[in-house]
């Protein structure tokens, strides 16, 4: 019986409904100190002095640490996944409001929080810059004096020490002859689109606990999506070997990219090192808004289009507002730059994508790795072209869409990518051929579609072990972090299918770098494919060992030994273990590792014959109602079509996509980090409004297209981010369809819609 494609509750379901699920915020250590972070009140300033005497004198306060204290124990206290640009605590200057400046340690959290308010920091203000385009100008104030790329990346090395710019990385894609492609017939369209800075808002805020165990061992418990990276980065900072650092990760209360790479772990470790006691650094929901965010973007797209609607040439310029520290922004800039021209056959493409430093909360990866921002631009642009040329939006896309086997602008062929099927199913589900109710009175109704493509991040590695105990029970050790996507269950399904064991009887251990092999990180919808392949290889490895033992025990020829239904050569796993070890004893360990073969893109042109191990395709359609008196948009129905490969746990996969749709709807209609003079005015859930049950459309129709991916474990590929790709432009296109109002900046707030309606009638709205 196959375990593949049967929907099942996640393995940890019971613990999640009875309150016993283990999150890092529940953890305590003996003699543990609690911390509160003192944060910068200035967007850009030199640190003139830190007076912590009053805080230090407070009863219950252990100590107050500054960047100088950290620099005493960690020689080069700068971290980051792409650039080593972020100080553990600010040194010499601050670069955004909310940047950690000092850390108060106390016996209890409430004491630390109260004392943090007593720390007096003085600043000498510098001119700040907040906008990504303004920050790219030659005379812009400089956020960093020079660039500090991490030494591990060959493609960033040339940037080391570059001075006088806020552009951390400028990546280029050149396909065909984009310079010559603008002459000749047809029409040229040019538009500029903006997406806003938004917050991830996992309901569990970041928390890390660090303890030095003996003189040469560091243990960190953290809600991180990147246990292996965190170990590597902590070891680098301490000048230690990786095997001296242990990172333990329980369930995450949401991640969405906010908990990728390192966030609080180095701060907790530095504080524990100085204090000589375990330190817990936990932040509040408000503080999340000063920790990480999704990039705001400005995107300019220019297209030449012939009389039949065919796209002939496209030039895209993208500016990514990376905030004060690079985090993984340069990689977002690069990877999403690759797909910025859209999922279309265009003979000449030029993309220029720039990661820009500004004096805002740093921006990193968030559910789609920059793709939703790009899809908003190219799919709004597509509908603007359709409207201007009088073409049907589906028909325009049909004529231009890349088909499986076509050459993408990166020089890589689309393989196992159901672009056409996604578009056609979207049209069917939207009942596109039928007219819709256009509303009456003060309500106008409309509909829109959009489609996006993503190349999964590469090159990356996952490794896993699958082991058998003396009783034959199966344990999977792997480093993919389950933050609600159901990855542990999927790994159990894969191992269970390979060994003929019910997944519900398999233990998938939480990541612990002392026990679980390397994984690049839980990000970019890569886990089912990469870790799934590693788990499959490990399960097959242990199965081979079992079969060899079975052959020995039974005296059969190894070729005649078969394995099915949890038995090998008719024997249970326990019987084989007992017979081999002379008792119910021993451990069998199977190991698997997976690194897909890809080719690094040419640094000047972005071209590569194999840029990704798999493509993801997501299409969305929206039917909306607009109240023309208030400008308020109500989404009545959303269709989301996702190319899933084979869904290993189909209902869970659908819920992943649906959850992505809901999150992206928030970012489409309401969410926005708002600043005044560099001060964020709406941190926290009281002011920053995320979707509630009332904001969710009554009808979210998620459709999975399932064709086995040839390289995926049991045909599976990644799907987690797909739901986010096309939601925003689908709604923006529906708004234009309903009202004629085209809004080129997210969110599609009632105010912008109302303003647009008034302008379209030749009236002004002050």
């Amino acid at each position: 019986m196959t375990e593949i494609g049967r929907s099942r509750p996640v393995l940890e379901a019971r613990s999640k409904v009875d309150g016993t699920a283990d999150y890092v915020i529940n953890h305590v250590r003996h003699r543990m100190l609690h911390a509160a972070i003192v944060r910068s009140t200035e967007p850009h300033a030199e640190l003139a002095g830190i007076d912590a005497d009053a805080a230090r004198a407070s009863p219950g306060v252990h100590s107050v640490l500054t960047g100088q204290d950290v620099a005493q124990v960690i020689k080069d206290p700068y971290y980051g996944p792409a650039f080593h640009d972020q100080p553990i605590l600010a040194l010499e200057k601050v670069r955004y409001v909310g940047e950690p400046v000092a850390l108060v340690l106390a016996d209890e959290r409430h004491i630390a929080v109260a004392a943090a308010a007593l720390v007096d920091v003085s600043y000498r203000g510098l001119k700040p810059v907040f906008d990504e385009v303004a920050a790219s100008a030659e005379d812009a104030p400089l956020v960093h004096e020079s660039l500090r790329p991490g030494a591990a990346f060959a493609d960033l090395r040339h940037l080391a020490g570059v001075r006088g710019t806020n552009v951390a990385l400028h990546t280029r894609l050149r396909h065909g002859d984009p310079d010559a492609a603008w002459d000749g017939g047809g029409q040229v369209f040019e538009h500029e689109y903006h997406t806003q800075q938004v917050a991830h808002v996992p309901l569990e805020s970041h928390c890390a606990i660090a303890e030095f165990v003996g003189p040469d061992r560091l243990e960190v418990e953290s809600g991180t999506q990147s246990p292996s990276f965190t170990r590597l980065e902590l070891a680098r900072l301490l000048g230690w070997r990786e095997n001296q650092v242990r990172v333990i990760v329980p369930y995450l209360g949401g991640g969405f990219g906010a908990k990728l790479y390192m966030k609080l772990e180095a701060l907790a470790a530095a504080a524990a090192l100085i204090a000589g006691r375990p330190v817990r650094v936990a932040i509040t929901m408000d503080e999340q808004f000063f920790t990480i965010s999704r990039h705001a973007t400005t995107t300019r797209i220019r297209s030449r289009v012939d009389d039949t609607g065919k796209f002939l040439a496209r030039a895209v310029e993208v500016y990514w507002n990376g905030g004060a520290y690079a985090d993984i922004g340069p990689r977002v800039t690069q990877k999403s730059g690759f797909i910025a021209a859209g999922p279309y056959r265009i003979d000449a493409v030029a993309v220029d994508s720039r990661a820009v430093y500004t004096n805002r909360t740093p921006a990193g990866a968030m559910r789609g790795f920059g793709v939703p921002q790009m899809v908003f631009a190219h799919e709004s642009h597509a509908d603007e072209i359709a409207a201007a040329t009088g073409m049907d939006p589906i028909e325009l896309r049909r004529r231009n869409l890349l088909a499986d086997g076509d050459l993408h602008a990166t020089g890589t062929r689309l393989e196992s990518a159901a672009t056409m099927e996604v578009l056609e199913l979207l049209a069917t589900k939207m009942r596109w051929a039928e007219e819709i109710d256009r509303g009456s009175g003060t309500v106008r109704r409309g509909r829109g579609v959009a489609i996006g493509l993503k190349a999964v991040v590469t090159p990356t590695t996952s490794a896993a072990t699958v082991s058998l105990a003396g009783d034959g029970s199966v344990t999977v050790r792997q480093g993919t972090v389950d933050m609600g996507q159901g990855s542990s269950t999927v790994m159990a399904v894969i191992a269970g299918q390979a060994l003929g064991v019910p997944p519900e009887q398999i233990a998938v251990l939480p990541p612990d770098t002392d026990a679980t092999p390397y994984d690049m990180g839980t990000l970019g919808s890569r886990s089912t494919f990469h870790m799934g392949n590693a788990v499959l290889a490990a399960a097959l490895d242990v199965k081979r060992q079992l079969m060899a033992f079975a052959a020995e025990v039974t005296g059969c020829s190894p070729a005649d030994v078969s394995c099915s239904g949890g038995r090998v050569a008719g024997l249970t796993f326990e019987e084989i273990m007992s017979a081999t070890h002379g008792a119910r004893a021993g451990t069998l360990v199977g190991y698997g590792s997976y690194t897909p073969r890809t080719v690094a893109p040419d640094p000047k042109t972005g071209q590569s014959p194999a840029i990704t191990p798999f493509w993801m395709v997501g299409g969305s359609g929206a039917e909306i109602s607009v109240d023309v008196e208030t400008g308020r948009i109500t989404v009545d129905r959303i269709v989301c079509v996702a190319d899933a490969g084979v869904a290993l746990n189909p209902d869970a996969a659908r819920r992943q996509v649906s959850g992505g749709v809901v999150m992206q709807l928030g970012m489409t209609l309401s969410e926005e980090m708002r600043y005044e003079d560099g001060q964020l005015t709406n941190p926290g859930l009281g002011l920053y409004k995320v979707p509630t049950a009332l904001d969710v459309p009554p009808d979210i129709d998620v459709c999975l297209i399932q064709h086995p991916h040839p390289a995926g474990p049991y045909g599976a590929k990644g799907i987690g981010e797909t739901g986010t790709f096309a939601v925003s432009p689908a709604v923006a296109n529906a708004l234009a369809d309903a009202t004629g109002v085209r809004i080129r900046s997210l969110p599609l707030s009632a105010e912008k819609v109302l303003r647009g309606l008034h302008v379209s009638k030749g009236r002004r709205l002050e």
Binding site: P9, V10, E12, A13, R14, S15, K16, V17, D18, G19, T20, A21, Y23, I25, N26, S58, P59, G60, H110, I111, A115, V201, P202, L203, E204, S205, Y251, L252, G253, G254, G255, F256, T284, M285, D286, M483, G484, Q485, G486, D651, A652, R655, Q656, S658, G659, G660, V661, V662, M663, G684, L685, G686, V690, P691, T692, A693, L694, V696, P698, I700
Partner: protein, 163 residues
């Protein structure tokens, strides 16, 4: 900074308990610090997300905003008391069956809110469920499944009562 302390007695999950509390301590802090009950969790810290929901005197409250000193002689019920003899409560079971969570962080609070709804309204409509849950945020976006779970739980409670 010093805190003053008070001794209180109250009923926690049907058991009489005593606790020495800080006067500025919240019910949420008390549950976690003194009783090791981790089902209620802080998220927003402002009473808008519902992640810390427990019942006091049979009413759902945000325990992050509820002072522990207000508890004297009150009855407090948390998610930990819902399952009996290893069997899940009908709402918990409905959440499992509908897959009404992803990360699970909001789930105990969400279930405690739904309990309050079903006590007042045995057969809520979609719209009534949505309105009741506006103070319970699920960032993973599992609302469609949560609404299904509430309907299923309502049906299960009704059929239990009919037996």
């Amino acid at each position: 900074m010093t805190s003053s302390w008070t001794r209180i007695t109250f009923t926690l999950n049907c058991r009489a308990v005593e606790a020495q509390i800080r006067n500025d301590e919240t019910l949420l802090e008390l549950l976690r610090r003194e009783f090791g009950l981790y089902g209620a969790r802080e998220s927003c810290g402002q009473g808008v997300c519902g992640t810390c929901t427990v019942e006091v005197g049979g009413m759902p409250v945000s325990s992050c905003l509820y002072w522990a000193v207000q508890l004297d002689r009150a009855e407090v019920t948390t998610i930990e008391s819902l399952s009996r003899d290893g069997a899940l409560d009908p709402i918990q079971q409905a959440f499992v069956d509908a897959g009404a969570f992803q990360c699970g962080f909001c789930t105990p609070g969400m279930i405690m809110m739904c309990r309050g709804l079903l006590r007042d309204n045995a057969d809520p409509s979609d719209d009534e469920i949505r309105r009741w849950l506006t103070g319970s945020i699920c960032r993973c976006g599992a609302y469609p499944e949560i609404i299904c779970a509430v309907h299923a739980a309502a049906a299960a409670v009704k059929s239990d009562a009919g037996r």
